[in-house]
């Protein structure tokens, strides 16, 4: 883990909460943090360059833009795990894929521009792997917010 100074920590904590929409938003935030606007901009760039922040900007709610996501899982026999991972990852619609410790040991997220593609991709994965895909569409969203206090 990269060493962060107190200013970096304060910036990371504060900028996860949001940037105001106004003329000079960094001036406002810098004032809250007791630092100069130029230092804030310089450190934000450095944190992005170092990959400590992966992104900075508007976070769009994909479903409200017409996209669709679906969490899905497979129970993959251990001796076929690598081969099935390659097959599943080969679908462009598979955005994330994790091995997890459970009978359902492969968990992936399908992301598409067109909600109708979800069922087609699931069927494609079933045909190519011969395994049943368990799909877990979102029924209710109670909370989405990753805030890490550093």
């Amino acid at each position: 883990m990269t060493a962060l100074n107190d200013t970096d920590r304060a910036i990371i904590n504060r900028l996860q909460d949001g940037l105001p929409v106004m003329d000079r938003p960094f001036e406002q935030v810098a004032g809250e943090l007791g630092i100069s606007e130029s230092l804030l901009i310089e450190r934000l760039e450095a944190l992005l360059d170092a990959g400590i922040l992966s992104r900075f900007g508007p976070m769009y709610h994909a479903e409200r833009l017409g996209g669709a996501f679906c969490l899905a899982a497979l129970a993959v026999p251990e001796d076929r795990f690598e081969q099935v991972a390659r097959t599943v990852n080969g679908f462009d619609e598979v955005a994330h894929n994790y091995r997890r410790e459970h009978e359902l040991n492969m968990w992936f997220v399908l992301a598409t521009d067109d909600p109708r593609r979800i069922a087609a991709v699931i069927e494609g994965i079933e045909n190519r792997t011969g395994l049943d895909v368990y799909d877990f569409p979102k029924l209710d969203e109670y909370y989405v917010r990753l805030h890490l206090e550093v």
Partner: protein
């Protein structure tokens, strides 16, 4: 909130995006410029009036199309390397009340209701718990268990042991 040019129609589903909104989305979904006047920079690039751009960003934020304009930390780089997908079998008549309360816990980043897939999968509440270590994640799981009490019949925690693929969730056409 002021929208200077085109009034935006709303329907039951909320906010109706028009072509100008889509141009704004395409120009900013990879991120905002890091400079003193980032909204001016975007407005110049799109040849929009900056007040219109800011008005539309505020309107999209209010409608929930934009969750917020913020920094996204790389949790691995910040030392939060343990993430556990905690899953809970919660009584159907209690989940609407308890789900949001689980989501509000500090350690929970995402919290959803999803369908059970019996017999393999009896769980209907998913709460992603982040921590620096598995012990920290398990302490968060215990907080959730205490909150759910008797409304929960059983639970499990699935740790990720390997990232097999991770790409962005960017939409190429932004719904057009």
């Amino acid at each position: 909130m002021t929208i200077t040019a085109t009034p935006l129609a709303r329907d039951d589903k909320g906010y109706q995006l028009d072509e100008t909104d889509r141009r704004i989305i395409r120009a900013t979904q990879a991120g905002l410029p890091v400079c003193a006047r980032p909204y001016h920079r975007v407005a110049d690039r799109l040849e929009l009036d900056v007040d219109e751009l800011m008005g539309r960003l505020r309107a999209m934020q209010e409608a929930g199309v934009i969750r917020r304009i913020a920094a996204v930390p790389n949790h691995y780089r910040l030392g939060f390397q343990a993430n556990g997908m905690s899953v809970w079998d919660v009584r159907n008549d209690r989940i609407a009340e308890l789900g949001p309360r689980v989501g509000e816990l500090e350690c929970v980043s995402h919290c959803y209701r999803r369908p059970r897939r019996r017999p393999v999968w009896p769980y209907n509440l998913f709460a992603m718990v982040h921590g620096r270590t598995r012990e920290e994640v398990m302490a968060g799981v215990e907080d959730i268990a205490a909150l759910l009490g008797e409304a929960c019949r059983r639970h499990d925690v699935l740790f990720s042991s390997e990232i097999l693929k991770k790409t962005g969730l960017r939409l190429s056409q932004a719904g057009s």
